[in-house]
Symmetry: C2
Subunit: 387 residues, 2 copies
C-alpha cells in the first residue's frame, strides 16, 4: 500500500517523548519526514538529531545553547531559531501535516494553539495545554477543523477503544494508574521521601517533571482533566483505578456494560507511533505483550488521603474556569521546589492546594485571562509555599 | 433517536441463549419484534413464549410436543410448524431482518445456510454451523451479501475490538477460556469425573452440551475454528489463554503490539444484545463490571495434556476439509454418551480422536459432502467408542 508522507514538527524533541518519536520516524522513512525540531536547552542532542534527520529548521530556547547550535549547523541549510516568536513560528509552519507537542509544562500551551490556528493537526503529549486552556483549544479545533491526537498512553488507549464507536454511548472512562513508587508506602513516611526515591518510577521511563507528578499522582489528576477535554465526558464519569502492572492502559465502559480496554507493554513508542501513523497499527511490534508471563493484572481503588492531588484535580475540573490553570502552574513550581530540595514531598500538593484556595476563579477564561492567571500564580506562589 | 424495528426469528428459543434473547427483546420493544420462534422439545416454554411475544409462527421438533403446542395455540393466529422442511421454512422467511440461530449442535447448520441464502442476516450462537461448513457458509455470505454476527462472548469480544479497525493489521487473536471446572483437577482424577461435576461450570450458566464442551475444553477448540472462519485469521495466529475469571472475553493484538480487549461480567445478555442491536451499546447495563472488586485478572497457558480436545481442534482446522465436521459430530455423540453414563469423561476426547483417525478427509467439501460426512461419522461412531 502507498501512503502519503507526513511532514512532522516535533516540539520538545530532546526529551523522552521526542527521542522516542524520532525512533518511530526512523522506522517509517516511507511515512514520516521531519520538518522541524525544538529543544529548550539540550544543544548537543538537538545538533545530533538535526544532523540525522535534516529538518528545515530547529528551535532552541536557551541563549548560550543557541550559539552552540548555530555554530554547529552553520554549514548546513538548517535554519536555527530561538525566542518565543521563533517557537510559535516553528509550531505554526503549515508545511507540517502534524505537530507533535512534547514540550514539558505550561510553556507548551501557546505552541499548541499556534499550530491549531494554522490548521495543523496536533499530536499532544503536552497535557498541560488542555489542563490550562481546554475550552479555548476545543473552540480553536472546531473553528479550524483540526484534529488533536492524544499521545499519553492512557488517552491513546481510550482513543483506540473509541474507534468505530459513538461517544454518546460511553458510560464512563476508566483511567488506569500504576500508583507510582509510593503506592505501598505508609502516609507517615511521606514526609521523608527523597528526590531520588520519587524519581524511581516502577514501570515507565519518563522525564523528571512527569515522574514526580506520577509519584504524587498529580499526573493522573492532569490526565482526568485532559480526558474530559479530549473526549467530552463529564468529570463524574471519569474514574481512576490503580493497576500496578501498567499493562491495561485505560478502559471505556459503554451504556450496555461492555468494556473495552487497550493493553500493551509500558513503552511510549506504541502510543507515539499510533498518533503519528493514525489510524494504522503497523509493524514493527516494539515489544509483544505476554499475558501468561504476566500472570496477573491487579486493581485497587486510589487512596485519596495519601494522594490528595487527585482530589485537587477533580475539584479544579468541577469548579472549572481558571482554576485548573492555577493548579497546573502551582504544581510545576512546587515540583521544581521539591526537585531543588526546598520543600518536602507532601508539601508539593499542600502548596498547590493553598495556592488554589487563594485564587478567585475567572469564568470562561480566554487566552489572555489564562496568561494573566499564570502570572498571578507565579506571583503569589512564594507566599503560599508550604515546606 | 429513531431506529427501524428489527423483525427477529429465534431458532432454539427455549434454550439458555433463546431465553436471554427474549429478555433483550422485552427490554427493547422499540427496536426488536419477534417474527418466529423454534424449539426442539420444550412445548410448555415455547407456548409461554408464543403467548408473550406473539410471533407469526413457532416451530417445534418433537412430534408429541407438536400436538401440545398446536392445541395450546389453536385459538390464536400463530402458525405451528414442525418437521425439517418447517424448520428451514422458518429460518428462511425473509420477513425477518435477522435470524438468531441458537440451535444446539450440528442440526443448526442447515438453518444457518437457509437464512443466508434468503439474504437474511444471521446472529450465530450455533458455532457448529461454522465448524462443520465454514467455507460453504462464507461463500454463501459473500454471494448473498449477508452479515454474520457472532453471539459467543469470545467472538463478540473480538468483533467489538475490531470495530473501526482493519483485519489486515491484526497480528493474532487471543481467545480467553475459563479453563472450566477441572482446570486444577489432576489428570489422574479425570477418569473418576462424574456428569454432575462436569455440569458445574464455575462462571457461565449455559446448556448441558456446551457445559460439557467447556469441561473438556472442546468448546474452546470449536471456538478457535469459529474464529478462523469469522475473522479470516490463520490457525497459527489464533491462541488460547486460560483466564479463570472470565472477565476479559477475548483480545486482539495488532501489528504494532497494541492489544485491544473486551471485558464484562460473564452474562450472555451482553453479547446477545450487541448482536441484536449492532452497532449500538445501549442501556440497560445488565450488570456493571467492578475491576476493583475483582482485584485480579489472571492468565495461564492451557494444558494440552489434560485437555487434548484443544489439540484435536487445531489439528482438525489445520488439516481442514471434512475433518472439523467429523470432530464436531463425533464430539456431539461422545458428549451424549458421557451424559448417558455410557463412557468416562476422558473417553469423550479419546473417542473423538479415534473417529478422526479413521476418517479419510474430503477436500473442499460442499454441503452434500458435509451431510455425507455427518452420516459416515454417525455410522462409524459406535465401533470407535472408547469407554
Amino acid at each position: 500500500m502507498e501512503f502519503p508522507i507526513r511532514q512532522l514538527t516535533i516540539l520538545g524533541s530532546t526529551g523522552s517523548i521526542g527521542e522516542n518519536a524520532l525512533r518511530v520516524v526512523s522506522e517509517h522513512p516511507d511515512r514520516l519526514r521531519v520538518l522541524g525540531l525544538s529543544a529548550f536547552v539540550n544543544a548537543e542532542r538537538l545538533i545530533r538529531q538535526a544532523q540525522e534527520f535534516h529538518p528545515a529548521y530547529v528551535w532552541i530556547g536557551d541563549t548560550s545553547a543557541y550559539k552552540q547550535v548555530e555554530q554547529a549547523l552553520h554549514s548546513t541549510d538548517i535554519r536555527v531559531l530561538t525566542g518565543r516568536d521563533g517557537l510559535l513560528e516553528a509550531a505554526s509552519d503549515n508545511r507540517a501535516d502534524l505537530v507533535l507537542n512534547a514540550i514539558v509544562g505550561s510553556a507548551g500551551m501557546e505552541p499548541t494553539l499556534a499550530a491549531i490556528r494554522q490548521g495543523i493537526d496536533v499530536a499532544l503529549s503536552n497535557k498541560e495545554s488542555l489542563v490550562m486552556a481546554g475550552a479555548v483549544i476545543n473552540q480553536a479545533l472546531s473553528e479550524h477543523e483540526v484534529n488533536l491526537y492524544p499521545v499519553d498512553s492512557e488517552h491513546s488507549a481510550i482513543w483506540q477503544c473509541l474507534q468505530g464507536e459513538q461517544l454518546t454511548q460511553v458510560q464512563r472512562l476508566l483511567l488506569t494508574a500504576s500508583g507510582g513508587p509510593f503506592r505501598e508506602t505508609p502516609l507517615e513516611q511521606f514526609q521523608e521521601i527523597t528526590v531520588e526515591e520519587a524519581l524511581d518510577h516502577p514501570n515507565w521511563s519518563m522525564g523528571r517533571k512527569i515522574t514526580i507528578d506520577s509519584a504524587t499522582m498529580m499526573n493522573k489528576g492532569l490526565e482526568v482533566i485532559e480526558a474530559h477535554w479530549l473526549f467530552h465526558i463529564p468529570p463524574a464519569d471519569i474514574e481512576v483505578v490503580i493497576h500496578p502492572q501498567s499493562i491495561i492502559h485505560s478502559l471505556v465502559e459503554f451504556h450496555d456494560g461492555s468494556v473495552k480496554a487497550q493493553l500493551g507493554v509500558p513503552d511510549m513508542k506504541g502510543p507515539i507511533q499510533y498518533a503519528l501513523l493514525y489510524p494504522d497499527h503497523v509493524a514493527p511490534q516494539w515489544e509483544r505483550l505476554d499475558l501468561i508471563e504476566m500472570g496477573a493484572l491487579t486493581f485497587e481503588a486510589p487512596d485519596m488521603e495519601k494522594f490528595p492531588a487527585l482530589r485537587l484535580a477533580y475539584r479544579a475540573l468541577e469548579q472549572g474556569g481558571s482554576l485548573p490553570a492555577v493548579m497546573n502552574v502551582a504544581n510545576e513550581l512546587a515540583v521544581q521546589a521539591f526537585l531543588d530540595g526546598e520543600i518536602s514531598f507532601p508539601a508539593i500538593t499542600d502548596t498547590v492546594e493553598s495556592v488554589m484556595e487563594a485564587h478567585r476563579i475567572i469564568r470562561e477564561p480566554n487566552l489572555e485571562d489564562i496568561r494573566e492567571t499564570e502570572r498571578w500564580t507565579k506571583g503569589i506562589f512564594e507566599t503560599k509555599l508550604v515546606t
